[in-house]
Symmetry: C2
Subunit: 216 residues, 2 copies
């Protein structure tokens, strides 16, 4: 039995939750906030979420968790059938997370959390994520899923990240940079959001966001 620790405001939490649901792995959720206490640091080296509990121990870092789920639960695979296709799927994920999401993340403090971000940071983020998004477009098929006619790990990762990056760039720049640079995004989101497990994750995410904003 897997326990998923974290909360549904996090796009990385929602990535893992969607993977668990689409792979039909039994799991429970335990709500927990990032913290620096010793007990937390033993489970996740920076006290960050999400992390999971397994029969063998705890595991953090969302991409390591996604690979573990695929490795330990081979049914309902999220990676394609050949080594090169699997590699292209991982390339898409790495590119999206390293070259786009981790950059856009610097906006969240102002876009989502009521803080402020300097104009310099806003300019720098914009300058870096536009080439990132153009590069992502070169790796994307949308036929109708990112890598072809089946849902893959690329979709499970892209959907939660796209949602948050769209929201943040819309708030900060007055324009959704994901939609501006990824043609076909709207149809893709419709395809994804017709899936029951995606709807389930979206519903908990929206409720968690509402509760989060009310508490602030």
């Amino acid at each position: 039995m897997i326990t998923l620790y974290g909360f549904a405001v996090s796009n990385y939490y929602n990535k893992i939750k969607l993977a668990l649901l689409e792979k039909n792995i039994t799991f429970i959720e335990e709500s927990i906030a990032p913290s620096q206490n010793d007990d937390m640091l033993k489970r996740s080296p920076l006290g960050k979420i999400p992390f999971i509990g397994t029969a063998d121990g705890y595991l953090s870092e969302s991409q390591a968790i996604l690979e573990y789920l695929e490795d330990a639960f081979p049914e309902n695979p999220l990676y394609p059938g050949t080594a090169f296709e699997r590699a292209k799927c991982r390339e898409f994920i790495q590119h999206l997370e390293l070259n786009i999401e981790l950059i856009a993340r610097r906006l969240y403090k102002e876009a989502l959390m009521g803080g402020t971000v300097s104009e310099e940071t806003k300019d720098e983020v914009k300058e870096r994520i536009i080439p990132g998004l153009k590069g992502l477009d070169r790796l994307t098929h949308f036929s109708p899923y990112i890598l072809g006619d089946c849902l893959s790990a690329a979709d499970v990762v892209a959907w939660p990240h796209f949602g948050l990056i769209s929201l943040a760039t819309q708030k900060i720049y007055g324009s959704d940079l994901v939609a501006d640079h990824i043609p076909g995004l709207a149809d893709y989101l419709k395809t994804m959001e017709s899936r029951p497990f995606v709807q389930q994750v979206a519903k908990s995410r929206d409720a968690a966001f509402k509760a989060f904003l009310e508490k602030k």
Copy 2:
């Protein structure tokens, strides 16, 4: 046949080169600098190095490449024998790259390339990589390799990154933050540097650095 594109100044290039050597995969190297020309962007979505050429096409993002090598060339495995051990190996790699190397990287402009970095950036990097290194220490065994008695992907990734982060923090802060926060580092480096393939990668790296600094 694999072609490895890039140059030996890059720690990510050296990560892939060491993986190819330790797995005994036949490859050739083609020296190429990052660029934004169309031909390059088709092969690597941001025009970055390293990337590889395979019989099926090009592939970028070093961790996607490392996974591909393991997947397509299962002999001489770099990942351990169980799903959970493999997951802990990937967790180590993700933590090192996302929470330490990508942060420390902001120092390289001054530490290695003759540019300058603001005091604010230096303070921010230091503040973030120290908890990262303390977290890494919690994931590390050094018995004598990072995850136990065999070389694994964790070592193939850590050795090139540790070298560059040590060098950069020594130059910027006057103190090697990796050695300061990872007890056992010196003995570990001795173990790694007794391996012929590590020596081979170090030799090309040192020659590439020398040429790079002379050109500047």
